[in-house]
């Protein structure tokens, strides 16, 4: 049962990603051009999902709308993962003063939790993609670093690592060829799980106006724009909302599936 949901989620995710990539080819109409004559229309044959407050075709805007959230989440997760792994690895492997210094650094960045930090950073640097990216990375790398550090400390204490040192392996060799590959699975799972949270974060920030700027279509800004018209055109809120939920849950499910696979493999390999 779990396996089926995992594969279904993978399918949905692929669908969303592909429709985002091929949005220019798939979109029936121009998502940017306003047409005040046909605004706030319910779903019809001409406009499968209806039109928004500026008369733009909702379906076309929906196809474009997931791109920025997904892309931003992906890039920020990769960057955060990279930084977090580097810091965590050094702290966990070398211990002592290096660890103390790096942990203080991690604490500083982790001391301002979640959304608040991201808003503060985005606010400081100004609305737009750069600020958003900076905010996302700054707010999430510390969490990764902590987890990586814990795992590195555990693995570096295993007897075979000591054996490798006895054989004459250098620290660099042990880190690059033994510890890093061993972390690979965990990093993959962490990253995938984080992608879902990243999309939520981007959505929240965009909703506040601190993220993706108009006229770029984005599901969250579409929702905030549609709040005024909830009586006349509730579908303007529901459709993008459903899309966000679908995207995030499929990311989460895929992440959980990877997690299960990884656990099984670790049990076998030891």
């Amino acid at each position: 049962m779990d396996r089926m949901t995992g594969y279904a989620a993978l399918l949905v995710l692929a669908g969303i990603v592909l429709s985002g990539i091929f949005a220019p080819q798939l979109a029936p109409m121009n998502p940017f051009e306003p047409n005040m004559a046909i605004r706030l229309q319910p779903p019809s044959m001409a406009h499968l999902l209806g039109t928004d407050a500026l008369g733009r075709d909702l379906l076309s805007r929906m196809l474009y709308g997931g791109r920025s959230a997904l892309l931003l989440s992906l890039v920020s997760t990769l960057l955060a993962l990279g930084i977090g792994t580097l810091v965590g690895m050094l702290a966990g492997y070398f211990g002592g003063r290096t660890d103390a210094a790096l942990t203080t650094l991690t604490n500083i960045f982790q001391g301002i939790p979640g959304i608040s930090f991201m808003v503060a950073v985005a606010g400081f640097v100004g609305p737009g993609v750069t600020g958003l990216l900076l905010a996302l990375v700054a707010g999430s790398w510390a969490g990764f670093s902590r987890i990586v550090r814990a795992e590195v400390m555990q693995r570096a204490a295993e007897p075979y690592v000591e054996q490798l040192r006895v054989l004459g392996c250098s620290d660099g060799r042990i880190i690059l060829f033994h510890l890093l590959p061993a972390l690979g699975g965990t990093l993959l799972v962490l990253g995938t799980l984080r992608l879902g949270r990243g999309v939520l974060a981007v959505a929240g920030l965009s909703f506040l106006g601190l993220g993706v700027q108009p006229p770029t279509p984005d599901w969250s800004t579409m929702i905030s724009d549609a709040m005024l018209y909830y009586r006349q055109a509730p579908h303007l809120i529901i459709v993008p909302g459903a899309a966000i939920i679908l995207l995030v849950s499929s990311l989460n499910l895929v992440g959980q599936m990877l997690h299960r696979r990884l656990d099984v493999r670790q049990e076998v390999r030891g």
Partner: protein, 315 residues
């Protein structure tokens, strides 16, 4: 001083460099950001475009002319004397501004924590106890709850309970009931995560050797679940809820915006809009302080819950 007091003192001392780092970080970010607070203030006063002279005068008054390290040094000096500086756009001391809004945020955070704890633990226990379709439905529900951004939850709750059903207030904080919807919106994702985490750890605990031994000693499954599995499984859950508490005490910006609650989060948003550096720095520092206190409290609680956790160390 006993071990607990010593530990607390050591933690607080260790937090100082972190707080220092946070304040420095906030200051650097402020310096990096575009926009001139003097200009923004004058434009906002509504008397048309300010002249260069006016801007320069205001800048000088606000101390924005001095080099960055002087500005920071000054700010730090004042801070150590208990003065958080003056908010540019509010004209009142930063600490006063923060403290004014604190009760609302604290109430919201408390309610959200209750939702997450009670809802999460309850749901988690149900997920483990029930079988078949019921359990599957609960799991599916938790999955969906995890995927809804807080602003969407907030909007949907307003639509359902405020507009269509007209049962709960959706604006402001006149009554305690006014906190019900916003706190739920805030807590929903964490509620689901708590339930899932608890579910996973309960399963692990239930299949452990000590649980099996307890069964073989004749104890009922309920007792094994509640008496043996739950206390063991709650430890990682508490850690997660602790993170959540620290996060929501820092102000729930999105939820406060949607429900128009005058909390610290919406104050921060204002500060961003006005480039009100002192207020923003005070806010960031406040967040850091909250984080330090809350994580300390959580660690103390965890040490109580799991006797293997030595104070100040891992297991």
């Amino acid at each position: 001083m006993n071990a607990w007091q010593r530990y607390i003192a050591w933690r607080l001392l260790g937090a100082l460099p972190v707080l220092f780092g946070i304040s420095l970080l906030a200051f650097i970010l402020a310096q990096l950001s575009p926009g001139d607070p003097a200009e923004i203030l004058l434009e906002g006063a509504g008397t048309g475009m300010p002249s260069d002279a006016e801007v320069a005068a205001l800048r000088s008054y606000l101390g924005l002319d001095a080099p960055p390290y002087v500005q920071y040094g000054l700010w730090l000096w004042r801070l150590l004397h208990g003065d958080g500086g003056m908010s540019y756009h509010l004209g009142i001391p930063v600490f006063t501004a923060l403290l004014d809004r604190l009760p609302v945020t604290a109430a919201l955070a408390g309610a959200a924590l209750l939702w997450a704890m009670a809802g999460g633990i309850g749901l988690g226990l149900l997920m483990v106890r029930l079988r078949g379709t019921a359990a599957m439905l609960l799991r599916g529900m938790a999955q969906v709850m995890l995927a809804v951004p807080s602003f969407l939850t907030a909007i949907l709750l307003i639509l359902v309970f405020g507009v269509w059903l007209h049962v709960l207030p959706t604006n402001g904080v006149e009554s305690a009931a006014g906190y019900l919807l916003p706190s739920l919106a805030l807590a929903l994702v964490t509620l689901a995560m708590t339930a899932q985490l608890l579910d996973a750890h309960l399963r692990e605990a239930l299949s452990s050797l000590y649980a099996q031994t307890a069964r073989l000693r004749g104890l009922s499954e309920t007792r094994v679940l509640l008496s043996y599995a739950l206390p063991n499984a709650l430890v990682p859950v508490t850690a997660m809820l602790g993170n959540f508490a620290a996060a929501v005490l820092g102000g729930a910006i999105i939820v406060e915006t949607v429900f128009a609650l005058p909390g610290i989060g919406s104050l921060a948003l204002e500060a961003i809009h006005y480039r009100d550096y002192p207020l923003l720095q005070g806010y960031v520092l406040f967040l850091g302080g909250i984080y330090v206190l809350v994580t300390l409290a959580v660690d103390l609680v965890l040490a109580r819950m799991d006797p293997r956790i030595a104070l100040g160390g891992e297991r």
